[in-house]
């Protein structure tokens, strides 16, 4: 005890001395308030011990507000942030605008070749890495094994949409507050449209044809929307049109969703007995397909990037290397267990036998590997991105379309009306933006 105290004292004296000797650099890190990022803030002692000359100021915000503040700052060259948290959608667009600093010169111990190829590809533009993934995710199915057993069904590891429909019908027990399937219904390009775009991919639908002509008037989209609305209306929780990621995760943790299609990253919470009393009853399966060769799973990575307007780029890169390095994953594992290690970024994590033993590890890596951003649909498309289209206009357009689709789910519009409206919206927007000549 005494020793520790003395060591601590020594360390802090050393920190003071070095702090005085080296000019301290302060970096401002803008981040989203999800569990992994909050965990990182609790582990900062490790960073300060290694880099006493860098002080980190956190700006932790809810996802939508974060995106709003960061985009405004970077587009106006504000220079408020030195490290920003952005996703796979923003990286290629922002990199093309020269808003981001390349991360190709991170030190060798960063081990860039250890990054999962699918994730790395999404963050690379013209051969340069522009953001370092903090965690990566795909989407898959989680379900309650006990309910499946009770209903006398088995859910295959690689189900089809027909399997899902049958399973949802078999497990729904609304009187007991058990809903067969929970899917995202809340409007937004990152909410219902993320899910619906992947579902569309598996149904053979696509956002645009090779000439950027919107495709909502095609029969494939009609099949997608008909099945989606039917699934949620018959077997989903009431009020599904207002349920996004958070709402559905909460319902799943409470055991109210027999099945849920959503981000692989929530597996950690779902299998954590401290958070859910159904933790030992959760099963996982790949996202379903319709026999056309594409599964309905997405690819996303929350990543750390350095804005070109930062005035502390070196310190920012030092921080990014610490936060997304293999050592950081090991640090989380040693303090909070492997379950809580940030998933989906590094090959070495999945090669680790301790991690591979977790019930969701294999399904997660298989899902991530199954996603192909450069070739998302069964038909050819002019864009990159699995659950999004990597063009600046997409966020606005997809949110408007998402609203129309959520109205269809709420029963305010028929599927045909919603699709016709979506088509008009998309044609107008793409014409205004100059894609359709």
């Amino acid at each position: 005890m005494k020793m520790t105290y003395r060591a601590l004292l020594g360390a802090s004296v050393a920190a003071c001395l070095s702090g005085a000797a080296l000019a301290e650099t302060t970096i401002t890190v803008a981040t989203v308030n999800n569990g992994d990022m909050v965990r990182m803030q609790g582990l900062m002692d490790d960073f300060y011990a290694k880099h006493p000359d860098i002080k980190v100021e956190w700006v932790t915000l809810e996802e939508n507000i974060l995106r709003q503040n960061v985009t405004t700052d970077i587009a106006t060259g504000g220079g408020q942030y030195d490290v920003i948290t952005i996703g796979t959608y923003e990286v290629p667009i922002w990199a093309k605008q020269n808003w981001l600093e390349s991360l190709n010169d991170l030190p060798a111990d960063y081990d860039i070749d250890d990054l999962l190829p699918a994730i790395r590809g999404g963050l690379t533009v013209d051969g340069k890495l522009y953001a370092s993934p903090f965690y990566g995710e795909s989407s898959f199915l989680n379900y309650r094994k006990d309910l499946a057993e009770k209903a006398g069904i088995t859910i295959p590891d690689a189900p089809t949409w027909d399997d899902i429909k049958a399973a949802a019908a078999a497990m729904t027990d609304k009187d007991a507050g058990i809903y067969g399937i929970c899917l995202r219904g809340k409007a937004g390009w990152g909410e219902n449209m993320a899910f619906l775009t992947t579902m569309a991919n598996s149904y053979g639908a696509r956002w645009f044809d090779e000439n950027w002509q919107p495709q909502f008037d095609q029969p494939e989209w009609k099949a997608v929307m008909t099945d989606y609305v039917e699934l949620l209306t018959k077997y989903g929780p009431p009020g599904a049109s207002n349920n996004g990621y958070n709402e559905n995760l909460t319902l799943s943790l409470q055991g109210k969703c027999a099945m849920r299609m959503d981000a692989t990253v929530s597996a950690g919470a779902l299998t954590d007995p401290a958070q859910s009393e159904f933790a030992d009853k959760v099963g996982f399966a790949l996202a379903p397909d319709a026999g056309l060769g594409k599964r309905a799973n997405w690819l996303w990575a929350w990543s750390l990037a350095v804005p070109a307007s930062s005035d502390a780029k070196e310190a920012a890169k030092t921080f990014i290397n610490w936060a997304t390095n293999k050592d950081y994953i090991a640090l989380v594992a040693s303090k909070e267990g492997w379950r809580n290690a940030p998933p989906g970024t590094r090959t070495s994590l999945y090669a680790n036998p301790e991690y591979a033993a977790l019930p969701f590890a294999k399904m997660t890596i298989d899902s991530i590997n199954a996603a192909d951003p450069t070739n998302p649909a069964t038909k050819p498309v002019p864009y990159v991105g699995v659950q999004f289209v990597a063009i600046p206009e997409f966020a606005g357009l997809a949110t408007s379309v998402g609203e129309v689709f959520s109205a269809a789910l709420a029963g305010q519009k028929t599927v045909d009306e919603a699709l016709a409206e979506a088509q008009t919206l998309a044609v107008d927007e793409m014409t205004a933006a100059g894609y359709i000549k």
Binding site: T71, Q97, P238, N242, T250, P392, G396, S400, E403, L409
Partner: protein
């Protein structure tokens, strides 16, 4: 008392606030007008230029525009009606001599101290949520299905939340007005055998007219700009069922990052707000001898 010098001094003293407000109004307004004629999207900075009235026509052509206008009016009108009527009732009630008046009043004005985003997320999640909310539990207790507030009654839900936030403000002003009434008049009326209803109709209500006017005026100013509560709860949906004009602008500014359109929407909103203001002044201004 208006000598020449004091009038000059008076002008001098009004000057700072007028000048500041003028700058505060004109600088952003001019910038907004400028942007409203520009093609300017934050995330495609390479495509810029003058676009004439394209940004304005986008709003008028948008199918959501008129719906949003209607919703804006519904929000303002609904909240005003609820807060004024309930405010009068509550003010009449707590103006009576009752036990524990101090604590009672702090309870009544408690919602006023709650930040709007907190109010919205607490009411949405803890109360109106169809699975975890308290209202759902009450419905289930009485054997009926939980009401899907955000899905089936989005506009009413938003009006309810905003009304809860503003009820204390209305109640406070109306209560102050009640307290300033002379009791002789009421007592005289009571002796003459006037019923409680006619006392309210012919004595209390006319006395409160000025206070009601103030409540309507001030709340309208704040309510016309509300979007935070909508953003937190329904996100304008389902579909556009609870999209108001400020929220429509908010979406263009924040989600689509189309600064030109957002600016045009801002100008449209300013014009509309001023039209509303003129009608307000005409309609109820006579009660205000400001």
């Amino acid at each position: 008392m208006s000598t020449h010098s004091s009038r000059f001094a008076a002008r001098l003293m009004v000057a700072p606030s007028v000048a500041l407000l003028l700058i505060w109004m004109i600088v952003p307004l001019v910038m907004t007008i400028y942007y409203s004629f520009r093609l300017y999207r934050l995330v495609s900075p390479d495509r810029t230029g003058w676009t004439g009235f394209t940004n304005y026509t986008w709003f008028f052509k948008s199918s959501d525009f008129w719906l949003a206008m209607g919703n804006t009016l519904a929000l303002v009108g609904g909240v005003l009606a609820i807060t004024v009527v309930l405010g009068i009732a509550i003010a009449l009630l707590i103006d009576q001599p009752v036990k524990g008046q101090g604590v009672l009043r702090i309870l009544v004005i408690a919602p006023f101290f709650v930040m709007p985003p907190v109010a919205a997320s607490i009411l949405e999640n803890l109360f109106m949520h169809p699975q975890n909310g308290l209202f759902a539990a009450v419905s289930i207790y009485f054997g009926s299905d939980p009401i899907l507030y955000m899905q089936d009654y989005p506009m009413w839900s938003v009006i309810g939340i905003v009304s809860w936030e503003w009820l204390p403000f209305a109640t406070l002003i109306l209560l102050t007005s009640l307290q300033s009434m002379s009791s002789e008049q009421l007592e005289a009326a009571e002796m003459d055998g006037a019923s409680a209803l006619s006392r309210f109709r012919y004595i209390i209500l006319p006395h409160m007219m000025r206070a009601i006017t103030v409540v309507i005026l001030i709340q309208t100013i704040f309510l016309l700009g509300i979007f935070g509560e909508i953003f937190t709860t329904t996100q304008g949906g389902p579909g556009s069922a609870s999209t108001t004009l400020p929220y429509l602008i908010f979406k263009q500014a924040i989600v689509a990052k189309d600064i030109g359109r957002a600016a045009a929407g801002g100008i449209i909103a300013v014009v509309l707000a001023n039209i509303v203001a003129i009608f307000l002044m005409r309609g109820i201004g006579k009660h205000l001898d400001a």
